[in-house]
Amino acid sequence: MKFRAKIVDTACLNHFTRVSSMIAKLAKTCTLRISPDKLNFVLSDKVANGGVSMWCELEQENFFSEFQMEGVSAENNEIYLELTSENLSRALKTAQNARTLKIKLTNKHFPCLTVSIELQLSVSSSSRVVTHDIPVKVIPRKLWKDLQEPTIPDADVSIYLPVLKTMKSVVEKMKNISNHLIIEANLNGELNLKIETELVCVTTHFKDLGNPPLASENASQDRNSEQMAEVHIDIRKLLQFLAGQQVNPTKATCIS
């Protein structure tokens, strides 16, 4: 198995760093899947009462100026690595003003992702090299099936979310009142965030959000566009997701 990649563009490096920080905020351990065209960060939390799963895909061309990999075998040209998310994000954060960043898979007593950073020195024109060896575990092929891209189930309603920062501050205040949040949305671009307790009921309304084009025609025809679909979720899990968002999305879609 081989992997080496290089980033030379500062914007790409910063973006990659932010993605990795976002992952680090969501879960302690994550899986990194390396394939010829893509890098994926996968989290699958198999907690019984509703865990958080995440699938994050990066087109490698958008980030790396050089990218070479050789998977487990010719038919299975992929590498799955398990690592502590914070280790990667911290290492990347030290590369703030780096000239180049190289990542490669190495074996120093145990498998590692070696991040090698060339930093521009502030005083002279020379540079300094910093390396971090991040320990990883290679995930055997028999476990790969659990780490595939999740299929998005057919939805009753899909809606574009409001600005995530706004949503986060609303949900954060609600967290103090209740453990569960009700999200209601309809095909008219309306979204409500609601909490209900014995003493009080608080609802925040968002309008004119827009709905993405629907996947299946059948569902939409039967549905009244004003009718709300609702789900109950754990507030803390939602907040964890919202707090982790560091990459400003062009679109965030909520499906229920």
């Binding site: 502590t84 280790n87 911290r90 290492a91 030290t94 120093k108 007593h109 145990f110 590692c112 930093l119 020195l121 502030s122 005083v123 002279s124 020379s126 300094r128 090299v129 910093v130 390396t131 971090h132 060896d133 991040i134 320990p135």
Partner: protein, 417 residues
């Protein structure tokens, strides 16, 4: 007549003074105020005796500096210094918001006398506001360390910014950092020990070229491992006063010195380094003594020249220093020597080992050894006064020994901090 201290500072001087206290607070929870004709010294030492900090403000640093010893009119006619020890918890909050102190304080007066039990710190601020802090102190003779930093084989002087950049690499979960030098390059890296045991910790390393140093002298290729947290405190201080920091060191096990020399002040931080192999016990000095005095003890009994601080001292030393034990290659013996020293084994144990019970000295042989244990060498603090020739012949050269706070070490080659 009581020993006293009185000094006056401006707002910006208060900031520097406060930064020194903050750096020393990383070492220990206690601070000694020790005035002398050289100036006002702030000292602290950690409970496991593996780090010692000393900042000396010369008299010209202050707007006004006045001190005196007391003279005891009795048979010994001794000059007694102000033996003033403060808790960091009491004094640190006073010097907390240094930027605002610098802006608002027009004048700061610090005053104390050995017959009062408190230090009075007065801030004369803008708009006629006056803040007075009374901090109680305990009478305690400060520890000193003698360290021949100029005799170290390796000396590096660097601007603090470079080291600060290096420290960003290391996570706070890693307690120790290793400095490896050759005449061609310097490497700062995570301590090897940790990455071997825990397959989850990141190993980081960074190279610094000789040209980045203001002064670069490497006499012996070496790798020393020391505590990270203490280094950070010193770096912050050195950045605050914008002075380069000098690192003096030799081989693993021998303490290293971080020092800052400015026209107005001098700072020295002596840190223990991890000993390489158990057989390196020769570098471990064993004079690990406390100079803590109980308040009830009369002052004069411990400050007489020619007499040790506590009557326990000679016995302690003579039992410890048996050449056979120290040079033995057997791990068990070395562990026991260290245990007796109270130095932390493997991990830092913050026990207060100021009073090592005499009984522990004798049970040495049966300590079960573990192979290749790495230990910190411990610092040695003991009362050694000038009159006393080493009554026991130490087979090894004493690298750092303590003296009490009087001018007793007149041996020119030693620099007393």
């Amino acid at each position: 007549i009581a020993a006293m201290l009185k000094c006056v500072m401006s707002g910006s001087q208060v900031k520097v003074f406060g930064k020194a206290i903050q750096a020393l607070s990383r070492i220990s929870d206690e601070l000694w105020l020790d005035p002398s004709e050289k100036g006002l010294a702030l000292r602290s030492v950690n409970s496991c005796r593996s780090a010692y900090g000393y900042v000396l403000f010369s008299p010209v640093f202050f707007q006004h500096y006045q001190w005196s010893t007391s003279v005891k009119m009795n048979d010994t006619d001794m000059m007694l210094n102000l033996n003033c020890r403060l808790g960091m918890k009491s004094i640190l909050p006073i010097f907390r918001c240094l930027n605002s102190l610098e802006k608002n304080v027009e004048k700061c007066k610090i005053f104390t006398r050995s017959d009062k039990c408190k230090v009075v710190i007065q801030f004369f601020c803008r708009h006629g506001i006056k803040k007075i802090h009374n901090v109680c102190f305990q009478e305690s003779q400060p520890l000193q360390v003698i360290f021949q930093k100029n005799m170290c084989a390796n000396t590096l002087v660097i601007k603090p910014r470079v080291l600060t950049e290096a420290l960003v690499l290391f996570t706070s979960s890693q307690e120790e950092v290793t400095l490896a030098v050759t005449p061609l390059k310097v490497c700062i890296k995570s301590s090897n020990e940790e990455s071997m045991d825990l397959t989850n910790s990141v190993y980081s390393e960074m190279f610094v070229g000789p040209d980045e140093f203001d002064f670069f002298q490497v006499g012996i290729d070496t790798e020393i491992t020391f505590c990270f947290k203490e280094l950070k405190g010193v770096l912050t201080f050195s950045e605050a006063i914008r002075a380069p920091i000098a690192i003096h060191f030799d081989f693993p096990g021998k303490p290293m010195a971080l020092s800052i020399d400015d026209m107005l002040l001098e700072a020295n931080f002596i840190l223990a380094t991890l000993a390489d192999e158990p057989s390196r016990a020769s570098s471990l000095q064993t004079l690990c003594l406390s100079q803590k005095q109980k308040r009830s003890e009369p002052i004069h009994s411990n400050s007489k020249a020619g007499k040790n601080v506590t009557s326990k001292v000679p016995e302690y030393i003579s039992r410890k220093v048996e050449p056979k034990r120290l040079y033995s290659n057997e791990t068990p013996t070395n562990i026991s020597t260290l245990e007796n020293c109270g130095s932390p084994l493997m991990k830092r144990v913050n026990g207060d080992i100021s009073e090592v019970p005499e009984s522990s000295v004798s049970d040495t042989e049966e300590v079960p050894g573990s192979p290749s244990l790495r230990k910190f060498s411990c610092m040695f603090f003991g009362a050694v006064s000038s009159d006393q020739q080493e009554p026991f012949s130490l087979p090894f050269q004493s690298l750092a020994t303590a003296s009490d706070s009087e001018e007793d070490m007149n041996n020119g080659s030693f620099s007393t901090f």
